[in-house]
Each structure stands twice: as structure tokens, then as C-alpha cells.
Symmetry: C2
Subunit: 195 residues, 2 copies
Amino acid sequence: MTERLDAQFAFLREADKLKSILRASCLIDGSRHENSAEHSWHIMLYALVLSEQAAPGVDINRVLKMLLIHDIVEIDAGDAPIHGNVDHAAMAAKEAAAADRLFRLLPSDQAESFRALWGEFEAAESPDAIHAKSIDRLQTPIANLVTGGGSWKDYDVTLEQLEARVGVPVKRGLPKVWAWLLPKLQTFFAARERG
Amino acid sequence: MTERLDAQFAFLREADKLKSILRASCLIDGSRHENSAEHSWHIMLYALVLSEQAAPGVDINRVLKMLLIHDIVEIDAGDAPIHGNVDHAAMAAKEAAAADRLFRLLPSDQAESFRALWGEFEAAESPDAIHAKSIDRLQTPIANLVTGGGSWKDYDVTLEQLEARVGVPVKRGLPKVWAWLLPKLQTFFAARERG
Ligand SMILES: [Ca+2]
């Protein structure tokens, strides 16, 4: 019993470090870069508010748990900016090693179930994972639209890149939300080209 | 449809401000104060890891949702440090007004259900709310123990105060965790008195 709680609190303490992992995106007020812990909170709120958009068969409670743990690997592997030049195979190996080390701080039954849930999210094949990935991809474009470009400017992102890297996963899980978002993106990028 | 998404995204944008509400407690590495958004993420992780400690009848999925939205009122009302000198009636009124304004950004059916879930958490009477409150009270003492006192030093907290303000709610929802934590607190405060 005591040993089990010791292990659980060792993991919970280590997880505190996610609050110091910075992402490419900024807060909407532009005051600073966003960290991965508060990002995880925010996309869980996205998932809750937009749960009516989930495809039949999606279990929002499992989606919330996936989103809760999905970024913990960044404590060891760092955040890979979606529009950065990333070696995807190397990053995947780094994240798998991170998942092994971090989730193994937990008692072994929990280590296994957390690792499996994280693996399911990464594979993006199950209905829950497809939905969770859509939600995860949605927050940054929304923030960038409100802030006049945000991390799109830092990475020189085009509408074509956005449609490929954000549009494809968002459309898979949240087609109506993508239909709502796309005209706003088109207006923004058209104005930027003129401007 | 479009109007509904407009309202949902207005709420999700406004929620970004929770990332700028600072708490009395610091990150475990001592680098800065913690904000309420990343705190909310962290206590959801506590809830998931410690879900086996929940009393029979507690629905962890509802607890997670409560914890996800419980601090949003702080966007208007600010964080009331647990060991600070707070006018509780005035704070409750401020938070109720905040809940009205913030949740009403959502479509009315969601405004109502979010408001009700927040009210249930605040009332701390249902099994889910009792459990959620225990989890919420647990993170700061754990962080303070690891960092050699943390916000206990800023507020001159005694073990007696801790037992009243943290021990009582933690014991209600998580008696075994409190039994694990109390000796550590006793050792810490005994050393401080000697020291
Ligand atoms: Ca709180």
C-alpha cells in the first residue's frame, strides 16, 4: 500500500516538469509562450465543450484521459513544433523511450495501462484516438487566428501547409468544425498575401 | 450550427486567461509561481492516478470534468490562497458572478450544465464533489513538502492549520492518502520547529 502510493506520488511529482516544457505557440494575450501542461488542460476543455461533435462510438471519457496524458513524454523528448523541420522517426524513438521511463515510475499495472493509452493516441487509428488528435490540432490555429498569426509567422506557414498538417487530422475527427474554421483561415491568409 | 460553434469558441478563447492566474504555490523546481490552468491539469492527473482510492459510488469521469472546469471562475475572481485571510462570503459572491458571466458565453444548454457541475463541486456534498475537493487540496502540500516548505513559509502555516484546512477535506475523500501523508507532514513540521 505505502509502496504503491510512493510510486504514484513519484510519478505525479515528475509530471510537474511538464509545466516547464514550452511550445511554439503563445498565450492569446501574447504575453509568453504556452507550456504543455496548460495546453493539455485547454484541449481537454475543447474536448468537453465540443463533445457533441464526436463521431458515433467515440467515448469522450477515454478521449479526456488520452489528452490528459498525451504530452507527458515531452518531459524527456521536448515539444516538436508542428510546422518545424522534425526528423519524425528520431522523434518517435525519443518519445517511446520517454514513455517507457516516465510511465514506469507508476505501479506496473498503471504503467502498462497508461503506456497503452498513450500508444493508442500516437497510433491515431481508433475512433477515440482520431477524435483526440483532431482536438489536439485545433487549439493552435484558433489562438493564431485571434493573435494575428502567432506561430504561423515564426515558421512561415502557408495555407497549403495548414491544410495538410492541421486540416487533414481535424477533418478526420471534426469535419463540421473544420468547415467552420476553413473560411476564417482562407480570409486570414488572403489578407496576409495582399498585405 | 455556426452560432453554436461561435459561442463555444468564444468561451474556449476566454478560458485561455486561466493560464495567467497565478496561485500562491510554486512549481516543484521553484522557478516560478504555478498558474491555475496547469494546476487544473495536474490535479486531473492526480485524480486519474489515485482513482482506486475513490469511495464506492464515485464516478471518476464526472470528477475529472469537475476538476477541468472548477477553477475557471478565477479568471474574474482570482485565486484565494487557502492559507490567506479571505472573506469567504465575499469570495463566494464574486465566484458566483464569475461563473454566471463565464459559463454564459456557452450555448445555454451547456452554460447550465457547466454551471451546475461547478456548483456541485463548490457545495462539496455529493460523493463526486467530496472526492474532487480532496484531490484539489492534495497537490500543494505534496509540492510544499518536496520544496522544503513552499507557500507554507510565505503564509506562516502551522501543522494545526494544515490539519484543519487540508487534512479535513483530504481525509473525507482520501483517508488512506491522508494516513500516508500525515507522518511526512509531522516529520517536516517537527524538524522546522527544532530548526
Ligand atoms: Ca482550486
